[in-house]
Subunit: 389 residues, 2 copies
Amino acid sequence: MTDTDEVRLARVALGCLAEPGNRELGVLVRQVGPVDALDRLLKGYVSERLHDTARLRLADEPDAHRLAGSLVDSADRLGARIVTPEDDEWPPQLDDLAHLSRAADGRAVERDTDPPQCLWVRGHPALDAVFDRSVAVVGARAASNYGTYVATELAHGLAERDWTVVSGGAFGIDAAAHRAALAAGGLTAAVLACGVDRPYPLGHANLFDRIGEAGLLISEWPLGAAPHRLRFLIRNRVIAALTRGTVVVEAAGRSGARQTLGRARALGRAAMAVPGPVTSAMSVGCHAELREVGTRLVNNYREVLEEVGRIGDDLAPMPRGLDRPHDTLDPIAAQLLDAVPPRRASSAEEIAATAGVSGRDARRTLPSLVAAGFVVEHDNGYRLAPRPS
Amino acid sequence: MTDTDEVRLARVALGCLAEPGNRELGVLVRQVGPVDALDRLLKGYVSERLHDTARLRLADEPDAHRLAGSLVDSADRLGARIVTPEDDEWPPQLDDLAHLSRAADGRAVERDTDPPQCLWVRGHPALDAVFDRSVAVVGARAASNYGTYVATELAHGLAERDWTVVSGGAFGIDAAAHRAALAAGGLTAAVLACGVDRPYPLGHANLFDRIGEAGLLISEWPLGAAPHRLRFLIRNRVIAALTRGTVVVEAAGRSGARQTLGRARALGRAAMAVPGPVTSAMSVGCHAELREVGTRLVNNYREVLEEVGRIGDDLAPMPRGLDRPHDTLDPIAAQLLDAVPPRRASSAEEIAATAGVSGRDARRTLPSLVAAGFVVEHDNGYRLAPRPS
């Protein structure tokens, strides 16, 4: 076995023997490397908590290297691959997670936010290229028709402009985002909270197959791992870290999507939310986020690109309603035009008084408004020209 | 005539002879007082523009004092009153407008934002008391059913809590706000861009009568003044200055309500907007404002009160979805509970591994979760207790 293979197998073993994100293990690996870290873990030179977990996961197969080896073989048979930080395609932005530490409330999901030891991948494209231009589109499982529509529009627009749409593979907003990206012929990646051989939810088995063919299915958990509720929360930090920004399309007051958004904000990624009717329970979480500093309201994919795109590249146009022809007039002329009555004609002096300009300015400027077709002379005065309908 | 009467009549004359908000006139009045300012205006010791306007408005009645006197008489006959800065009930917050200066784009409506010289009032309550606790609720004339509903809910909630609802008397959002405040038995004030004897729009004649009886109709323009388009924009600064904050409920991309909101922000008042579907043209202006720094998203009247209310007084509850019973558990117990499987039982060690806690902690804590009814023992392991439906 080469040194490279040994490191790789140690990463796989570490990814199986501890719950992903474990900070103690991450620090140890950074200090002594994966091979020595695995050795210390197996010998119990770690906290009781970490050692208990590892021993339990070795209950059926006590040899950690054999366990890892058989998982690698299974991945080969499935056509899946394992990507570690030592590989060229490893997305370097995941390493930002080493510096992510949230409120110390004692919960592992807040404390243990370290980068994954390895990723299990179904799909062909190289990870680094796929995630360099990527946006997370996430939200409620119990999405409304409105939310589904907006997620579809967003993901379609992003995918058409060669941005990878990343989501969590769940019902509702996640599924709408994946499907729209596929429909646009773009790239999409589902980051799962279970083994990539184990579709969850079951109803998305076909969707996951399509994503695995045209895009990427990835997970920190080894093949066969079951989706526990906590794992969705652990997984969310990877969605936030992989992408340049996260958009929440719909979210109830209490929602995993809000946690992903919080992670994105803490990592310095663009944090975005789509507003909705204040009468909709599915927009309560979005609006709560938008009331916080650091989350940006987005109406469409152009505004998303404005947040995540390179400067000067993807800029959204200012929303300003329809231009009116007299937007091009100089200030005095525009002011006078606003003061010209629509029906009964007024004198230049009356119009000047209403507009707040001098009579001389009015007498000088009104004829040019007549010449430009905005105003007509009538009864020794001026009134607006009839509008073309 | 007493000195007081002379000052009062001069204010009325100045309010007629120049377009309200004229900065040159405002500065002059602050320098020499209303009586001398009127004298200088009549003698032409002012800019040509200001002098032209005054002369035009004296075309039918060349004596400014007679003109003002006859307007005062008309107001008496109508049951209207005139309030000047010399009166006790003058709302002092209007004087903040003397310091409001907007982008110098040359347009009078941006440049001339001075306080009114006087206000024409229909309605009994004293102005200072009415506007001390007041919020402006404004928005699109072409409001959607959604916007009308939200404006109604907001205004009703504010009026019920003894906040005056201020708006502009227009169709759509303005009318919904006035009507809801009246329905709640609260105070509402319409700030008009024409004489208070001249209902505009005509279809609101009955509404204005009701507001005049139960609340206030006020205007800077003398009786008989016509509503020009420019006057709505001039008027908006008064709505922003009178109130502690302005809420835009719906607004198209180009909208007078957005101008009012900008004034509120420039005056240091609370600037608020209600979100809506990104698919609605009537929310485009609200969302554009919410993308600017300084405008706060509000979902309901409680959040409006949080922005405008006194500290510690009117605070909105945090939106966080329904509380779950195990929100009260300590962190280790909550973590374990999240990791307990719903159907097939798991051992304490397996649950500990998933939760990321030590086996000892799991063995110590799981029995208390059983005792509390969250978890049941089963097959030498633990699974979630069935939920009460």
